[in-house]
Symmetry: C2
Subunit: 120 residues, 2 copies
């Protein structure tokens, strides 16, 4: 406005710090607003994080604006869902060789960005 | 487990993609759960993002577990709050020279990581 000089304020470590803090809030179960259940196990998560990296979750959660939905997956082994969640918060995960195909099948079904050929 | 071989699945663009998607959800006002108001203007945001980068917001929102709180700031000019929010989602912001000191005073009060000497 009015040709006034502007200063650029930038934090070089912003990305790394923000992601580390989001992981921290996840581990401490702070501001949790969705529960994923399968195979007798429950996992807590944030709608925002799931929706940012998965069109499947984005659509599901947008269309069901429940305050704290519990999403139950039948026919999913808890280790595969655990690995998907770890990937969504860390961008990487270690998978036992015998579970690789199950993991990628679930990732495809959940349209996980970075793991699927196309997240349509 | 059982000495089975593990595969490392990693997405190199995870950080950039996740942050771009979070900004997108903010701009589209998806999964909004907190409103900041000052100076006759309202700003929508996510508790999770505010809490990740500000100990002030983390404490305030943890201690007041309202579903969608409206936080009213008196004596705050809307441009300064707008700049803080932009910084929280982008890690950078342009500030008019005449507002620099107001911006940093507000950042200090809100204990914004990366902008304060110490976020105690």
């Amino acid at each position: 406005m009015s040709g006034e000089e502007e200063f650029h304020v930038k934090w070089s470590e912003f990305n790394d710090n923000l992601l580390a803090c989001l992981r921290c809030l996840w581990e401490e179960e702070q501001f949790i607003d969705v529960t994923l259940a399968c195979d007798g196990v429950q996992f807590k998560a944030h709608k925002l994080l799931l929706s940012a990296s998965s069109d499947f979750f984005a659509k599901l959660l947008r269309e069901n604006p429940c305050r704290h939905p519990i999403i139950l997956f039948s026919d999913v082994f808890y280790k595969d869902l655990e690995s998907i969640l770890h990937f969504l918060y860390h961008g990487e995960v270690f998978i036992e060789s015998s579970r690789l195909s199950h993991f990628f099948t679930l990732a495809e079904a959940m349209q996980i960005k970075g793991l699927t050929t196309d997240s349509e």
